[in-house]
Amino acid sequence: MRIGISVALAACIAIGSTAVASAQTVKLGVVDTYSGPFAAVGELLDRGIRLYVKQHEKDLPPGVKLEVIRRDDTGPNPEVAKRMAQELITRDRVQLLAGTVYTPNALAIAPLATEAKVPFVVMNAGTAMITTKSPYIARVSFTMWQSSYPLGGWAVKNGLKKVFTAVTDYGPGIDAEAAFTKGFTDAGGQIVGSVHMPLQNPDYVPFMQRAKDANPDAVFVFVPGGKDATSIMKVFGDLGLKAAGIKMIGPGDISTDEELANMGDVALGVVTAFHYSAAAERVANQEFVKAYKAEYGADQEPAFEVIGGYDGMAAIFHVIIEQRGKIDPDRTMELLRGWKNANSPRGPIMIDPDTRDIVQNEYLRRIEKVNGRLANVEFETIPMVKDPWKEINKQK
């Protein structure tokens, strides 16, 4: 009896391994937000993934197939994200993980990536310390420090000496505030007041009024994109801050490309620092925007979440092609360290070999009217910015 079982087991194992060897299917588990109030953002990320796969599936080595298994984390819910990643690893036996719009979700998955040795490509979540939480994480998106820290220096250089900061009271907001304040005060600027705004907040009047009372040269704002960005922009105009000559600056989250049309002319002149604008004139970007519109509709504009998904897939395709579909976790991380793409729609990008975090250009953009539509027009480039948070904390 016992012999029978062992023979059967051995047979199963043998069948299992030959199946893997012949089909060479790479399983990629994606944890993203597909339902709930934040599904819009998750959809953008997934569009990037789908578009890249559609364009480049033919580039995979012969016999190698990619299977993308999607799981819904329903929003900023770390416990759901963790459960989904666990399922992907143990039940679906994925060899690679990717996704997460939100920082808490990425942090919940990090220990699983380490334990199971499954490389995890972070496609959006932007809190600086995420990549330090597992040696199997590489990030292709951005960090909050990358945009807000250089913006501080730029503000002082351009005559904005007194700034009021208003940020949403959660991880990325606090990161943005800290980064800007550091960059700004180091360059000699003065913070004349700051306020943390609740995540659920229908009306921004009280906070903008406080900002106006402080009489600053500019207000540094961070809100998590979407309708909140439009709301705060409208209040900024309604309360007469714009009329009083106060500027609005911030990371690109407050002027996401898909939301510009909703904002109206009050947004003209707002300066943001960010790694991607749909209006950028690089050839790679123009081709990308064209392909995006052909796929999702002429009135659609790609946003930074799309780029995260798109470039993330580029990195994943790189490791699959290099290993001819036989994914080894440590070899994968080796391939991701120092991976470069000179022709991303956002410009040249690289994964820092030391920190496994993205290195990319930051663009200063001003909202202007282009062909009758509002657009983030890039006017200055800060080349190849490494995550300043890691740079600063390394020196200590």
């Binding site: 599904a39 229908p202 906070f207 309360l239 007469g240």
Partner: protein, 286 residues
């Protein structure tokens, strides 16, 4: 002083948005006693009808609002006759489960039809910019909201207190069996009241679209504010929700301005305190 006027003004405008959207809930939940958590669905429907007519067909703002009122009221009558009416005598838990289900269905339906992103709102030129009131200027749109809020409360008061319909409605709410035995058709009456409540929600959704953004999550995200207005105001009263909306709107704005560190907690603390003091709401009938 300047800041104070500004806070009062904007708090008032915010209060009016809350009031216009919530007053319909005061009618369905407060007068008819139905726990209608799906109230926001009708407000959202009104918002979508308004922006779709304006952006897609160039319909003027006022006309689009009227259409939103009528279309949503009609849809709500259909829902009331086919679904809500079955649960009039049911337990509160059944009503809650049913209306929560409606919210989920509406989120999916709206996402399917209009996509996940917030709808762009382009106000008519007349309502954008600032209006000069002599001593200082205020944003036109928000001034308009305040005006509409006051007009609406006057009309509603007239309707409920001074018309035959209002008298019948009050009678049916106080004692449905007695009202029926003196020949009032309460079934028709409740259909009308429900349509009115939903129509008002739609009006609020359309009018407030520039402040409470129209997107698929609308019905669930703002639900807590509508419920607070009605809970603090007290069931069975139209004056209560008005006072409650004022308190929440101005209180919330002032508190976030004065003590931003605690700002978000004020409305909830105020609600707990008020409900401890008067569990049936400030103007509620125990």
């Amino acid at each position: 002083m300047e800041a104070l006027t500004s806070i009062l003004f904007h708090g008032l405008a915010y209060a009016m948005v809350l009031y216009i959207v919530s007053v319909g809930l005061a009618v369905t939940m407060g007068l008819m006693g139905f726990v209608n958590l799906a109230h926001g669905v009708f407000a959202m429907a009104g918002g979508y009808v308004t922006v779709t007519l304006m952006n897609g067909y160039g319909v003027p703002f006022g006309l689009a609002l009227l259409a939103a009122f009528i279309i949503t009221a009609l849809i709500s009558v259909v829902l009331e006759r086919t679904l809500y009416a079955r649960l009039y005598g049911a337990s509160e838990l059944d009503q809650v489960l049913f209306t929560i289900g409606l919210i989920f269905m509406s989120v999916a339906a709206v996402r399917y039809l209009w996509g996940p992103l917030p709808q762009p709102v382009h106000l008519p030129a007349m309502l954008s910019g600032q209006v000069d009131l002599g001593f200082r200027s205020f944003p036109t749109y928000r001034s308009f909201m305040i005006l509409v809020g006051f007009v609406l409360i006057a009309l509603l008061w007239l309707l409920v207190e001074r018309t035959n319909f209002g008298a019948q409605l009050r009678a049916a709410v106080d004692n449905r069996r007695m009202a029926e035995s003196i020949g009032i058709d309460t079934r028709r009456l409740f259909s009308c009241a429900f349509a009115l409540g939903s129509g008002l929600a739609a009006l609020g959704g359309g009018l407030g679209a520039d402040i409470l953004a129209i997107y698929p999550g609308y019905a669930s995200e703002y639900l807590v504010y509508f419920l607070m207005v009605v809970a603090i105001g007290g069931l069975g009263s139209l004056r209560g929700p008005f006072v409650a909306a004022l308190l929440l709107g101005i209180g919330d704005t002032a508190c976030k301005y004065l003590v931003p560190q605690l700002g978000a907690f004020f409305v909830f603390a105020a609600m707990i305190a008020l409900l401890l003091w008067r569990p049936a709401g400030v103007f509620g009938r125990a």
